[in-house]
């Protein structure tokens, strides 16, 4: 590991240790049902991870996040391509997406409960509707940032549409797609909990609701940490994919 990377890891770990220390001090001042000690939270977190029946809830939430994001990504990608090719489609679709952006996630939860029966479809619908505008606009931005020079150069070889897409458009929009996934992952993790809290019988949101009913703060923290850990792991995976996919970029030795 390079020195700068080691330093980054040490600094990140230090900030977490400081946060845990502050919590531990608060746990000494306040009763445990408000601020349970850090070791208790860690114990409960590990318990969730090693208990099969509890881990299923974490995996269920993860699957819902992935399904929702994938659905929004595919639909958003198609919409972005259509908008990019037609001014009429842009004029028609953009106001609708902007309107959707203004609708709070909780409203989509209410709509889904009223409109649909199946829990999984409800959650999928909520996830897609809340992340679709961001995916569409981010992919569209990536498309529009495509270099005119590279487009003309590629067109000089007279490619088919499929080859133009493969050799120019896809590599051009990959950085934008990766950013979109990173941004939407955090949003999706927040929204899925709300959706599960209201309308599901399993998953991290459902478990959080149970901890609230039991007034179990350590449990609530343990389930919250499951989601945070999940987001961190996926973020790191996307970062690794990004580092590989964008390895061609020149890196300055001096930081901004």
């Amino acid at each position: 590991m390079s020195d700068s990377r080691t330093m980054r890891v040490v600094q990140a770990a230090a900030s977490m240790i400081v946060l845990a220390a502050i919590w531990q001090v608060l746990s000494m001042v306040f009763p445990p049902f408000l601020f349970p000690p850090v070791p208790d939270i860690i114990k409960r977190t590990i318990e969730v991870l090693i208990t099969g029946s509890l881990l299923v809830d974490v995996l269920l939430t993860a699957a819902r996040i992935f399904a929702g994001l994938l659905g929004a990504f595919l639909l958003g990608g198609l919409l972005a391509l259509a908008i990019g090719q037609s001014r009429t489609v842009e004029n028609f679709v953009t106001p609708v997406l902007t309107f959707f952006q203004g609708i709070p996630a909780l409203s989509w939860v209410v709509f889904a409960i009223i409109w649909f029966h199946g829990i999984e479809f409800r959650v999928f619908f909520i996830m897609v509707m809340t992340t679709l505008p961001a995916f569409t606009f981010q992919i569209l931005d990536a498309l529009r940032s495509m270099s005119k020079d590279l487009f003309e150069m590629t067109m000089s070889f007279r490619p088919s549409r499929a080859k133009l897409f493969r050799y120019l458009i896809v590599p051009t929009i990959v950085p934008g797609i990766l950013t979109a996934w990173k941004v939407n992952l955090g949003n999706a993790a927040r929204v899925v909990v709300v959706a599960e809290l209201v309308g599901a019988t399993g998953g991290v949101g459902y478990q959080l609701l149970r901890q609230q009913q039991l007034f179990d703060m350590a449990g609530a923290m343990a389930w919250t940490l499951q989601l945070v850990l999940f987001v961190l792991v996926v973020q790191q995976t996307i970062n690794a994919i990004e580092a590989w996919a964008l390895r061609y970029r020149a890196v300055s030795e001096r930081a901004v």
């Binding site: 590629t154 067109m155 070889f157 007279r158 080859k163 050799y167 964008l246 970029r249 020149a250």
Partner: protein
Amino acid sequence: MAAEPIIAFDDVSKVFPRADGRGDFTAVDKLSFDIDKGEIVAVLGKTGCGKSTMFNIVAGLIEPTSGQARVIGHDPFRDFDFFRGKIGIVFQGDRLMPWRSALDNVLLGLQILDRNPKQAEEAARAWLTRLGLSGHEHDYPHALSGGMRQRVSIARAFAVDPEILLCDEPFSSLDEMTARDLRAEFVRLVRQNNKTAVFITHQINEAIEIGDRVLVFHHPARIAYEARLAETGREQAHSEIMRVLGTEPTPLS
């Protein structure tokens, strides 16, 4: 009977609407010329005279407003697909794809043309070697100097074995020594491989150094002077071109 010219412009005009919506401007005005197979023609003119518009018409990237442009007997804009692999272009900037290595950049045209992958790679490697880039096949563009990057773009144009090479001021952003080396290399490769080349430039010395024939454009693009260098001689062509363009006298290099 004389062979049909490989590029023929007959009264070609191109008019663009102004960006502010107030009328039009004429970039090319009733331009007529022929270029024969195997010729290297340098097109010379001041910045903004319509050289690049003419270039884009030949490349089939834009359509003339009036008149007829024919390239290898076809309309380059309407018969767009006919020209797959028949025209190679070296642009003003290198226009390398930053996510592709030098080798992959040279391979681009061959991949688009569905050439056999093994033979395509051999051809791409051979062109990189011929242009002095052996050992840099796997370097990304950001790791190459300006001259090396432009060599890669020349290799990319030659690799598809086109009948016609179009060059739009390809060496204008390079230092004079690198540009001189690349010019000599370019002319050698065009002649060795029996290509037809249209070379756009705004430098008189470059036009005379490269072309068998020099076409001087006025604005909007139409021919103000034409010199076949084998007949006119370089010295006389040089002084005539300076007179036509109204430039300060500079020595012929």
